[in-house]
Symmetry: C4
Subunit: 284 residues, 4 copies
């Protein structure tokens, strides 16, 4: 349902750490930061231990390796975070040089985290809601069937110049009998709206040019269809371009129903019921 | 007057903390930061108290719960901000671990605040001023009426490729007698200017295709009209796209007046009087 | 020469602190930061003095108001920057609360400065150089004169899809005899190039539609012409849109000369001499 | 192979420190930060030494110039990073003022580094892979030859609205017998795709309008051709425009081979083998 084709890529992928750090969930992000915090300070703790706890003035040896490590770890934390209480402070050349590096690494690390926080927060997020189902139903009073789904803006921010593209992919055999996925764009009755104050039902008319033309549900299922929905527009409130994706597969299709009207007039207001986006009604 | 339609959304809204934090007023933003600062340090203070003040070396017990809390709170602040005077410093495993977390949370919090500061400041702001009123007056020497309003750039930064859209919504009855808001774009005599050195009067000619055609003020009032004005262009000085919105409702309309000319030539300069944007004159 | 029209705006300007802080020179920016650093710490110093130096443990009274102020100022600096040596530390409720605020203000201030640094650095900068003069000379072998200037990319970054607009403004009298500036776009023989590896001479042919048509230098001078040049394109190397402006006035115009060819082939390389952009040659 | 023309620019280049700092490798970036860290703290160390080590309370003179310098350097580091252990702290007016400046410079420096980190990370990176070779082979069943290369998206992020431009430059003689590089765009059989789920073979048909028309490999070599490939599109996953460049020269051209088909159907998946992008097959 995240709107991407099911294609397996093999071989030389590029690892993009920035994108991974921006994409991962907040929980994993904080877990990763905590893990790095612990690992880096442990490494510095081991270096301080190698130099000798006697070069950390104020640090009392714990008479056990774990206790000594803990004391060195705490000193590293106090340096890395630049808290520097001073109850423990480095003496001698080696410990002082390592502490200088420790503080620099800490500051660079937090500089990096700051940039990542901002990047994570600043990702534009669309407020567009897609109906969970797409319906296949007659198009107005014509003999044609149509493929329909609807979207709505769940917030009051103004979206303008919204345009939609719907692509469909399905499995077919090529001239040599090899199975392969084919891709096409489905033509929409209307693919652009300037304003989008209420809901918008998108309609693809199933005519002779459509890959859905005269397909029974059984035939369609065999085609393993994937519908990819791409919307883009401009969010006037937040002054940024927005993009929204979703996708439907065969089991998201419903035959012979229609979407319920989502809004009505009440006490001088136009009320839009966002939860009705998935309500379907029988054809009359 | 903020340029958005009056539609009530009900049901599943998405909470977007980033947008909320960027949108709120500076006063609320600083109040929120201060509140979080106090709450977080209070939580850490309670943890330090639970461990015991005797593990904060240098902290003198105050012999009262409030006084003890205050001492622990101060130690947390000194750790959270990474000031770390050292007059109070943690001893023992538990207090040291909490202090390590306190400093990490502090640094993460300030990283976050840094990102938000930047995001708040960097929001593109338009320097376009809209007239408070729109006038309905004859269009040049034609028998047609027109809907007019004007805009001006209040700063010297260069705005180019400015384009305008004016939409109108009003209440009408549909074929089943249900009241609902309708939306349309009003056609403009000119909807794009390349340069915008002075003021710009935008004109919609009220012809047969206009929803304003032959409407008396009384009829118009009953329609509860909302005019939404959207401008976009490019700010050459700050190298960013800008967007400006405003809106008019019925009580912002004025009949039979026109806008005063805002500029004149004086001592080799062209002078543009920004304060005249709302000055109306009788028709001659 | 900064490419903006000479129009005097009077009345209600909007002060935009962010833009001012991003626009000012680096020297003024650092001077401002230093000034704020001194002022804010002085304010906190006065508050600490009001509470009493005896609440700053370790601070030795200097027995002179200036000396006491200096001690309090230093403590504020140590708190504001979160250095916190600890040689001086606050005691008592009031001093501790002020120190907590001092550190918070310091951290917020540096968060703000960080955002501004980034914003200042990240301003897209064009690498396009304009010729200092524009020439008026015959257009190829036609009887028409033309207005020409040239540009060059002074760096190796790839600029693509470059498009140019040239507007001209001049003083003329309107139908009521009032002097006012008029504005028009000058049509260019070519206003777009996809690639821009060498220099580009932009040419406006002075035909009957041009405001320059059959104007003698004297007539032109009386018109007080301003030519505004706007270029936009895409910088492939830095992946950002770029914009470049410049302007010419009457005294930048040269009659009867042409631009020297800026490049030649040398040892398998094409050499582009950037310094030749302002070299003019006699017509042959 | 980085997709830029081989033109030598001489004379007045603009130095753009931000771009340089964003462009350099991570290794050089960290080396530069470390170098600046050492140099700045050394400068402050010399100032503290000039004032006198006796004004750094807690600092024990080392009885050697190098040792004294090291002590002053360590104090500067503790101030610059705002660690401020307090084992050494400044006394007297001069040392305190320098320490105040030291901390301010440190904080500004880290603010700057934070902005640069973010800018470096945030550079949009394309995930498009180009074939290392371009082939010259018959175009379908026509008598024409064609110039072909292929690209593939090496990640699963969705690229849409991808458009391609191919420019070619070559050395030729102008009418006066001077050698100079000429530039042209090569027309593509198809220069735009909406979706790009698999690979894409770009084809330039070598007809009479092509600079490659009826050129033998020997003639082509003498022309010193450079092919510049520019792709742009929109990355739906990361919500940003992406650009990708590459280039071919004579030795990257291959005659009479074709690209191997990169994908096949396997167990219900479409498998795309990224490593096959450079595999060439004999014509059948
Ligand atoms: K400290
Ligand atoms: K500190």
């Amino acid at each position: 349902r995240d709107g991407s084709y099911n294609i397996l890529r093999r071989g030389g992928k590029a690892w993009r750490p920035y994108q991974a750090l921006v994409e991962m969930s907040w929980l994993r992000f904080f877990a990763l930061i905590t893990a790095i915090y612990i690992v880096v300070n442990s490494v510095f703790a081991l270096i301080y231990l190698t130099i000798g706890l006697e070069y950390l003035s104020g640090a009392e040896p714990a008479n056990s390796p774990v206790g000594d490590f803990f004391v060195a770890f705490l000193f590293s934390v106090q340096t890395f975070t630049t808290v520097g209480y001073g109850a423990i402070s480095p003496t001698g050349i080696a410990a002082n040089i390592i502490a200088s590096i420790d503080a620099l690494v800490g500051l660079m690390g937090f500089a990096l985290a700051t940039g990542l926080f901002f990047a994570r927060f600043a990702q534009p997020q669309s407020s567009i809601l897609f109906s969970k189902k797409a319906v296949i139903r007659p198009y107005k009073d014509t003999p044609y069937e149509s493929f329909q789904f609807q979207i709505v803006n769940q917030r009051n921010n103004k979206l303008i110049n919204l345009s939609a593209k719907v692509s469909m992919s399905w499995v077919s055999e090529d001239e040599k009998g090899r199975k392969a996925r084919r891709f096409t764009l489905l033509e929409l009755e209307r693919d652009k709206v300037f304003l989008f104050p209420l809901n918008w039902v998108l309609v693809h008319i199933i005519d002779k040019d459509s890959p859905l033309w005269q397909k029974t549900p059984e035939e369609l299922e065999a085609m393993q269809p994937e519908f990819l929905l791409l919307l883009q527009g401009y969010d006037e409130t937040f002054a940024q371009d927005i993009h929204a994706n979703s996708s439907y597969i065969f089991r998201d299709l419903v035959w012979g129903k229609k979407f319920r009207r989502m809004y009505f007039q009440e006490a001088g207001h136009t009320v839009l019921e966002l939860d009705w986006i998935d309500e379907l009604e029988e054809e009359v």
